[in-house]
Symmetry: none
Subunit: 190 residues, 4 copies
DNA sequence: TATGAATGAGCCTTCATTCAT
DNA sequence: AATGAATGAAGGCTCATTCAT
């Protein structure tokens, strides 16, 4: 008896992202994913109930990895500008190093299937984030704004710019990167 | 005869957006669009070459309407904070009043089909915008940043927040709205 | 615009019976039926919702034709042995002349799908039959038995024998046929 | 080891009948049968060549058990009405006590696969039956009819009625049972 | 022997598109 | 110009069967 291969799930995920990113959600098919994973279409159904299940689990996995990308183990979470900058740069590093996953999440965050998942699970920014925001507000480091507003000014611009750079096949220079963070920081700090 | 044609095209556009937004890109089909437009599938092919052509033209139409949404005829385009605020609020008003079109554009701006269109045409923010940015930079109203960076800090946060509000079926309060603009403005101005 | 072809339904029915009888219920497939009907598989779905719907309608149609086979227009329905013999022979003639339909009904009368149909509709022998049985009992022509028991002795033997003859590729001789009816008649008459 | 094998075969048979009767021939699958037998699909293939082989052997086994059901060891096979009644009641008892097997045989006796088996083997009523019929004819106990005709009048009605009762979830009363036999007997006796 | 993993073939169904009126 | 009918190709999924342990 063969053993269920754990690596297979990873392969399927990778193939799925690749197919979807290059051919779009509607251009993706189980057989294309199977072919790229080098397995039979039927085998996918040993690891996932059906296509929806595969996409759901894939999205949840990628979203949660991205959620963890802000933080590193040895990180000092005191509420200082330096902490925010570190989080922000961690995030930037993650999305540039995992561009495929990032694009996948951004592209399909709003498709109906994924919408249902977002409502089912809570895949928003994690509690640690909220605590940090609250503390920073208390300490008058940042302005007393709704957390969503803070988050949007911190991350929406860089996400937008990374996608744009990718689309134009250009890169963001280091000085620009610093500049972008400074702008974001300025928008929410006193 | 011209009038009738135009009306039909509009109906098809409206139906297409509706179907796609509610059932996703992959859940959309020509016959569903036809049914919702109250015409025969075959008739769509008198107005559009094929599905891709329909989607392309639809996207271009919506994107260009959105591009125009920033400006109103009687607008004073002098480079002042007031002008930026007016542009910004025009945009906000447009996307909330045309949520369907906005969601459609946001959802599918990154799908492979649309990508090709973006590269073919130039659907970015219009020349007027660029002129305004340049003038504002010259006049030291805003910092000397890349136009993309300026644009991203001005509009990415509000776009993110509008989508989020829509997803949560909540609304942005007027004070919050002002606050959001002030943050964006702060990020790019001196 | 082409008109929906009424003959097509008939063709599909004929093909379905042929495929099912020769390859069994489980060996039947929409594409085989389509091929034998000389149409595209997709076209079947313009006439029937799905496979179940096709089989249901096919069964109901055949069963109802068979139900009508006992009677002819000019028939005298007085309760005499001659009437019973006429009914019986009509039935015999029908099943031998429509062997395919008969075999189809017999083979699949007990399959789960059909079971559900039988319960939904009432496809048993018709009211006219029941009236005739009751009258014959009142007039002491046949014994006072449950209608099902009467029906079973009248028709189960000949049905069995027709199927058996078909399986052996033999035929029932006319004297045998008369004999069979006489036996059946003896079993229920005084 | 032999014992264990036999037990497994029995389990497979039981599971197969159960699955087929409840989900139909086309709804049955090797994995469903395996699951219900509490063994792996692969194991079935150690006991049977393939699905057809399983079904064939299952049918032959059930048919032969049913063939034996008419007779009991201590039975007096003299050609009298009492003997016929005893055979008939044995058969009735068997099919009511082994309804699943009976339904299975009746349902699929005419399916193409089984047809081939019937022709290959001779699974008809056994030689003993034929002898009894011949003797009874010689002794003028029953009429000089073809054996098939005799058999059909003796057993087709009760088989039909048992299936019908099962379908309607009703039972045949004892007086009715006696009556049914008497009718059958009348139809073939002088 | 016994098994769960793996698979190519095939099934039902839908789709974008064309046909014929 | 407009349409409902028609279709080949493709999609998701399951199945009987084999593999590898």
């Amino acid at each position: 008896m063969r053993l269920k291969d754990d690596e297979k799930t990873t392969n399927i995920y990778r193939a799925a992202i690749q197919v979807i990113n290059s051919e779009g959600f509607e251009g993706s098919s189980m057989s294309k994913i199977a072919k790229l994973s080098d397995i039979s279409p039927a085998t996918i159904y040993l690891y996932f109930e059906n296509k929806d299940d595969l996409l759901k689990k894939l999205y949840i996995e990628m979203k949660s990895r991205m959620g963890n990308s802000y933080f590193t183990k040895e990180m000092n979470l005191s509420s200082t500008k330096a902490t925010f900058r570190a989080l922000w740069l961690n995030h930037y590093q993650y999305i540039t190093e995992n561009m495929d996953a990032f694009i996948f999440i951004e592209n399909f965050a709003n498709c109906p299937l994924i919408k249902r998942i977002e409502n089912e699970y809570n895949l928003d920014y994690c509690p640690t984030f909220e605590q940090l925001f609250e503390q920073a507000k208390t300490e008058k480091l940042i302005m007393t704004l709704d957390n969503d507003i803070i988050y949007s000014h911190l991350f929406a611009p860089i996400n937008y710019l990374v996608k744009k750079a990718k689309a134009n096949s250009t890169a963001i220079s280091l000085p620009d990167l610093i500049q972008i963070f400074e702008c974001s920081w300025k928008s929410i700090s006193y």
